[in-house]
């Protein structure tokens, strides 16, 4: 069972990295959005393998919606959404590659050398997890949850106000 999990985690992990990398390697913006959608959906599958079923379903649902909207915005805003003209839309490439590589190496070193303590093998079933998460949301983390809800409301108002056209009142 543990070996099966390791195989699934490795395959899904490599697939997520591959699609994450493809996001910035294709000249078609629509393909970039679909690659990101696939990458984040695979993260949802990794959540499933780690037995976090509720978060996995939430991740897949949210990312499917969000990335579809992102693909539509790509079509709206881009001069060349299909990438037919092969435009280069990057800058400071060397700096970005260096900083990305340094950050990755530092984090991997931290993972390798940190003392993670005892690893827990068994975890409660999905029904119990949902119950416990519900209790957490309604008790200790209620304030955080309420704040998140209010933030969404504020962001909706801000987004609508920002996206509306400015009216020039000067005559």
């Amino acid at each position: 069972m543990v070996t099966t999990k390791i195989i699934f985690l490795t395959v899904f992990g490599l697939a997520a990295i591959w699609f994450g990398w493809r996001v910035f390697r294709t000249s078609s913006m629509v393909r970039s959005a679909l690659s990101l959608l696939t990458c984040l959906t695979i993260l949802g599958l990794i959540f499933f393998v780690m037995q976090a079923e509720f978060l996995a379903v939430l991740q897949v649902m949210m990312m499917a919606t969000e990335m579809s909207i992102m693909a539509i915005f790509m079509m709206m805003f881009m001069m060349d959404p299909g990438g037919m003209s092969g435009m280069d839309m990057t800058h400071q490439k060397n700096l970005s590659i260096t900083l990305g590589t340094i950050a990755g190496i530092l984090v991997i070193f931290a993972i390798g050398f940190a003392d993670w303590g005892e690893i827990v093998v068994a975890v409660s079933d999905a029904e119990q997890q949902n119950r416990d998460l519900g209790m957490e949301v309604m008790k200790r983390s209620m304030m955080i949850f309420e704040t998140a809800g209010t933030s969404i409301l504020v962001a909706m108002i801000v987004a609508a106000a920002t996206a509306l056209p400015f009216k020039n009142k000067k005559k």
């Binding site: 969000e66 915005f73 805003f77």
Partner: protein
Amino acid sequence: MIELYIVLTTGAVLFSIGLYGALSQTNLVMIMMGVELMLGAAMLNLVAFWRYLHPETYSLQMFVLVGMTVMALEAAVGFAIGTQRFRTKGSVEMEEASDMKE
């Protein structure tokens, strides 16, 4: 232990790819994609910490929910700025956005 290492390493690589994307792209929507990738990597780490280190601590799952909220908010506000920018300047290229500093 090896399962934790696999998941955390996947998260680290995704984070570095996201950082590269956020720094190297000139288009607003592509920069947002890089940020989304970094947030996805952070959520992956949080779920791994919950599953393998503290499965009794549900505040870690709560933190993932907050992460998802942040992703949605970032997308909403980012697209709103992009829409306004496109409406006024006809482009969401960030190299042409130095006038926002003025």
